[in-house]
C-alpha cells in the first residue's frame, strides 16, 4: 500500500547473516531498550537509537522492539517502512546523500545523482559490493543556497557537480591508499 515500502530482504548484498551477528544485534538492541519505557510513543526514538548503533534495523532488532513495547511486529515494520530515515539493509562505510530539493533539482541535482550512480555503479538505495559507499537521495537538507548539494558522511558539500563527484571520490581513494600503505608498511 505504501509507495515507499522497501523490500523485506535482510541484506541487500545477498550475504548470509551469521548466527553470531544476529545474536550480537539482539544484544545491542536489548541494551538500548533498557533505557526506554514500554509506551508506544517511544517507538520512533528507539528505532532511531538502534539504527544509530547498528547502522540499520535488522529483523532481530525489530522483533525485540515489538516484544518490549508489547505491540505486533507488523506495527514496528509498518513504521520502519513508512519513514524515509529507516533502513533495512546495512549501510556502506561512507554515506552519500544527494539532495533533490527544488533548488538542487533546478540547478542540476539530477545530473549529480546520475554522476554518482555512474561512478559508484549502483542505484539509489543501494550499497556498493565492497561496502564502501551507499547512495541515496534526500528530500532537502535546507542548504538551498549552495545547490546542488550532496551530503557526504553527514557533511553537506555545496555545488557538487559531476567533476566534484570525481574529486570527492578521488579524495576517498587517496585516503584509502594512505591507510593501505600504512598497514603494508
Amino acid at each position: 500500500m505504501n509507495p515507499k515500502a522497501k523490500t523485506v530482504t535482510q541484506n541487500n548484498t545477498g550475504e548470509e547473516v551469521s548466527a553470531e551477528k544476529e545474536a550480537r544485534d539482539r544484544q545491542e538492541t536489548l541494551k538500548i531498550l533498557k533505557s526506554f519505557g514500554r509506551k508506544r510513543e517511544n517507538l520512533i526514538p528507539i528505532l532511531q537509537k538502534v539504527q544509530a548503533r547498528l547502522g540499520y534495523l535488522p529483523r532481530e532488532a525489530m522483533m525485540e522492539i515489538a516484544t518490549h513495547l508489547g505491540i505486533p511486529e507488523i506495527d514496528v515494520y509498518g513504521v520502519v517502512t513508512f519513514y524515509n530515515q529507516f533502513r533495512l539493509n546495512p549501510p556502506g562505510k561512507h554515506s552519500i546523500r544527494v539532495c533533490l530539493g527544488t533548488a538542487c533539482h533546478m540547478k542540476g541535482g539530477y545530473i549529480t545523482l546520475d554522476a554518482w550512480k555512474r561512478r559508484l555503479d549502483i542505484n539509489q538505495g543501494e550499497t556498493t559490493p565492497d561496502r564502501e559507499f551507499d547512495l541515496d537521495t534526500v528530500a532537502c537538507v535546507g542548504c538551498c543556497t549552495m545547490a546542488p548539494v550532496t551530503v557526504v558522511d553527514n557533511q553537506p558539500e555545496g555545488k557538487v557537480e559531476p567533476t566534484k563527484v570525481d574529486g570527492i571520490l578521488l579524495a576517498f581513494e587517496l585516503e584509502r591508499g594512505a591507510e593501505g600503505q600504512k598497514t603494508v608498511r
Partner: protein, 638 residues
C-alpha cells in the same frame, strides 16, 4: 498569578539577566578583537568549519588569545562562509566568501596587524566612515528583521548571549500577566500562523485554552519539509531560544504542562542546537518545575522526525509523536480541541513562536502596524535558485515579489531573463512575470494560484523548464503521499506518469485535459493539504506556461533546453578552437574527441548530458550549445 509573587519572578530574572549581561560584556571588555564565524548548515556547506579551524590555528601560531565563537546565519548565504571581526576602534566588519587562506590573512593583518583587508569586506554591521554598512545595501530599505533579529549575531549555544540581547525578558513579564491578557494581546496583534495556512494564532490559543480536558499539549512544528525552504532550520540553528521562549509563553497562556519540539531528522545541527538550548534553559529554571519561582511548570521534549514530508501536517505530526506512521486524519476535530492522545493540543510553527516574545515586548499595536490590512507582521523567505543574493530575508507583509526578487535578491545572475518564481514548495505554484507586482500576503498569493506556504522561494530563469518543475513536484508529492486517500495515492501517480511522458516527448494533446481533470479530482478527494494542494504546481504552470507544454507535445522540443530526452549537446565547428582541449579533458564519460581537423566532436551515443563540457568551454569560444529537439544535430555527427 498572585500579586505577592511577582517581585520574586522579577528579581530572580534580574539576577539571571545581570549575569548574562556581564558574560556578554566580558567579550568586549577584554579589549581584544571578537571573531564570529557563521556555522549554520549553509555556512558549513561552503566550508565554514575549515575557516573556523584556520582562524583558531592562526591565532595559536600568532599567540593571540581572543574570543572566537560560532554564530548562525546572517541571511547573506550567497557570500558564505561569513566571518565577523569586531575590533576595538573599528566598526564590526563582516567578511564574505572567506576561505582558510583569507581567514589566515584576516588574523595576521587585521586581528594582529592594523589592516582591515578592505578587499574581502562584505559590509559593516554598523554605519561608519570606513566601509559601507549593511544598512546601506539596497535590500536594507525593504528588510525588517523581527524573527531574524538575533540570527548570525549571537552564539546559539550560549543562553547568556540570548538573554543579554533581550531574551527571556518577555517570559518574565508574561509570567506576571494573566493568560487571558496574553491571548488578547496576541489576538489584537493579528498574528497568523506562519506555517502556511494562516490561521489566527490568538484564536487557536483561546480555543485550546477554553476546551476542557487535561493534560493539554503544546507543540512546535519544526518539520520543515518543503524542498527549497530553510527558514525554520536557520532560526533553530541561529537563535533556538527565541522559539523556546515563544513556546513557554504559549504554554503559559494556554495552560499546558508538556510541550514538544518536533524537528525533522534532516536537520542534525538544528537538533543539536535545540538540545543544548533546552538544557541551558532548564538549568536557569526558565523551563521545568515552577519557572522563575512562579507556580507555572512546563517541560519541553525534543522529538526528531524520521523523514516523512507529510508529518509537517499537524495531525500527521501528532500521529508520529504517538509512535505511529505519520498519516493525517480528518479535521475537524482540529488539534486545539482534540490533538495528541485526543487531548487539546496547540501546534505552532517555528516562526510564529519566534514572533510571540517580540509582540509581547513591543505591543500588539506595534506588530499590527507592520504589514497589510489583513496580513500583519513580516514574512520570512528563503531565496534560492537562479537569484544573485540567495539567502534569508525578512520583509513586511505587502512587499511585492518584484521588490523581494530584484531589490533584495538583486535579480537573476548571468544576464538571464526571469521566468517564474516558485513559492510555497510542492503546495504552491509557479508565478510568472505578470504576477511580480503582487503584494506578498496570505490572500493575494492564494488568488494567483500559489500560496504563502512556509516561505520557500525558488527563482527560475529562462533555462528552467516549467513542465519539468511540475513533474519534479509531482514526483515529490507522489513519493511522499502517505497512501491513505485513494485520489492522492493513485491520482498523483497518474499525473506524474502523464507529466513524465510529456518531458520525454511522448505526450499527447489529450494528456493536458486528463491532467486538468485529475488535478480537480485529487484536490477534492484528499483529506489533508498534501493532496489538496499537490496539483497546484501543475495547474499554475498550465495556467501561465501552457505554450511550453505544447512545444513538448507537438514539436518534441523543450524550449528551456532542460528535459534531457529532448536535447542534445553539440559543438559548433566554426567556433571550436583547435588548440583547446578543455571539453575533452572534462568529459566525464570520454564522449568527446577531436576529428582530423582537431575540431572536437561529441559522440551522441556516449553523451550522458551532464553539462560539464558546456561549462568547461572557455567563454571566448562558447562553442558548445544545447539543441532541441535532438534531431537538430547535423546528421553527419549522429
Amino acid at each position: 498569578m498572585k500579586v505577592d509573587e511577582s517581585p520574586t519572578i522579577a528579581s530572580l530574572f534580574e539576577e539571571i539577566k545581570s549575569q548574562a549581561d556581564s558574560h556578554w560584556q566580558e567579550l568586549f571588555d577584554s579589549g581584544q578583537p571578537v571573531i564570529v564565524v557563521g556555522t549554520a548548515t549553509c555556512g558549513r556547506a561552503a566550508g565554514a568549519l575549515d575557516v573556523l579551524k584556520a582562524i583558531r590555528d592562526e591565532l595559536e601560531r600568532q599567540g593571540v588569545d581572543c574570543p572566537v565563537f560560532e554564530a548562525g546565519c546572517l541571511g547573506h548565504c550567497y557570500a558564505e562562509p561569513l566571518v565577523i571581526i569586531g575590533k576595538p576602534g573599528y566598526p564590526p566588519i563582516c567578511y564574505g566568501y572567506v576561505n582558510p587562506v583569507i581567514a589566515e590573512r584576516l588574523v595576521k593583518e587585521f586581528v594582529v596587524g592594523d589592516n582591515p583587508c578592505l578587499e574581502f569586506v562584505l559590509g559593516a554591521l554598523e554605519a561608519n566612515d570606513l566601509v559601507p554598512s549593511f544598512a546601506d545595501f539596497p535590500r536594507a530599505t525593504y528588510e525588517k528583521k523581527i524573527v531574524l533579529r538575533n540570527c548570525g549575531h549571537i552564539d546559539p549555544t550560549d543562553i547568556n548571549h540570548y538573554i543579554a540581547n533581550g531574551g527571556y525578558v518577555t517570559l518574565s513579564k508574561a509570567l506576571q500577566m494573566s493568560p487571558e491578557e496574553i491571548i488578547t494581546e496576541i489576538k489584537d496583534s493579528g498574528l497568523k500562523g506562519r506555517g502556511g495556512a494562516g490561521f489566527s494564532t490568538g484564536q487557536k490559543w483561546e480555543i485550546c485554552r477554553n476546551t476542557p480536558g487535561r493534560p493539554k499539549y503544546a507543540i512546535c512544528n519544526a518539520d520543515e519539509g518543503d524542498p527549497g525552504a530553510f527558514m525554520d532550520r536557520a532560526i533553530l540553528e541561529s537563535d533556538p531560544h527565541s522559539v523556546i521562549e515563544g513556546l513557554i509563553i504559549t504554554a503559559y497562556a494556554v495552560g499546558v504542562r508538556n510541550g514538544y519540539i518536533y524537528v525533522r531528522a534532516e536537520y542534525p545541527l538544528a537538533v543539536e542546537r535545540v538540545r543544548i538550548a533546552l538544557r541551558q534553559a532548564k538549568k536557569l529554571n526558565l523551563l521545568g518545575r515552577r519557572i522563575l519561582g512562579s507556580d507555572f511548570s512546563f517541560d519541553i521534549r525534543l522529538f526528531e522526525g524520521s523523514g516523512a514530508f507529510v508529518c509537517g501536517e499537524e495531525t500527521a505530526l501528532i500521529a508520529s509523536l504517538e509512535g505511529k506512521a505519520g498519516m493525517p486524519r480528518h479535521r475537524p476535530p482540529y488539534p486545539p480541541t482534540s490533538g495528541l492522545y485526543g487531548k487539546p493540543t496547540v501546534v505552532n510553527n517555528v516562526k510564529t513562536l519566534a514572533s510571540v516574545p517580540q509582540i509581547l515586548t513591543n505591543g500588539a499595536a506595534w506588530f499590527a502596524s507592520i504589514g497589510t490590512e489583513k496580513s500583519k507582521g513580516t514574512a520570512v523567505f528563503a531565496l534560492a535558485g537562479k537569484i544573485v543574493n540567495t539567502g534569508l530575508v525578512e520583509v513586511p507583509m505587502g512587499t511585492t515579489l518584484r521588490q523581494v526578487i530584484f531589490d533584495v535578491g538583486s535579480g537573476i545572475p548571468n544576464g538571464k531573463r526571469f521566468k517564474a518564481v516558485q513559492i510555497g514548495g510542492p503546495s504552491g505554484g509557479c508565478l510568472p512575470e505578470s504576477a511580480l507586482d503582487l503584494p506578498i500576503d496570505f490572500d493575494s498569493l492564494t488568488e494567483a494560484g500559489a500560496m504563502m506556504g512556509s516561505g520557500g522561494m525558488v527563482v527560475l530563469d529562462e533555462d528552467d523548464c516549467m513542465v519539468e518543475i511540475a513533474r519534479y513536484f509531482l514526483e515529490f508529492t507522489q513519493r511522499e503521499s502517505c497512501g491513505k486517500c485513494t485520489f492522492c495515492r493513485l491520482g498523483t501517480k497518474q499525473m506524474l506518469a502523464l507529466l513524465s511522458d510529456i518531458t520525454l516527448g511522448e505526450g499527447t494533446q489529450a494528456d493536458i485535459d486528463i491532467l486538468k481533470a485529475l488535478a480537480r479530482d485529487v484536490k477534492t478527494g484528499s483529506l489533508c493539504s498534501l493532496g489538496k494542494t499537490a496539483p497546484n504546481p501543475v495547474l499554475t504552470t498550465l495556467r501561465y506556461f501552457e505554450g511550453e507544454y505544447q512545444a513538448h507535445i507537438t514539436e518534441g522540443r523543450c524550449p528551456a533546453l532542460m528535459c534531457q530526452h529532448l536535447i542534445a549537446y553539440y559543438i559548433l565547428p566554426n567556433k571550436c578552437e583547435r588548440s583547446c582541449d578543455a571539453c575533452v579533458g572534462t568529459c566525464t564519460v570520454e564522449a568527446i574527441s577531436p576529428n582530423k581537423k582537431r575540431i572536437k566532436v561529441i559522440d551522441q551515443e556516449k553523451c550522458v548530458k551532464c553539462n560539464t563540457c558546456l561549462m568547461a568551454c572557455p567563454p571566448q569560444y562558447n562553442a558548445i550549445v544545447k539543441l532541441s529537439p535532438p534531431s537538430e544535430v547535423p546528421a553527419a555527427e549522429k
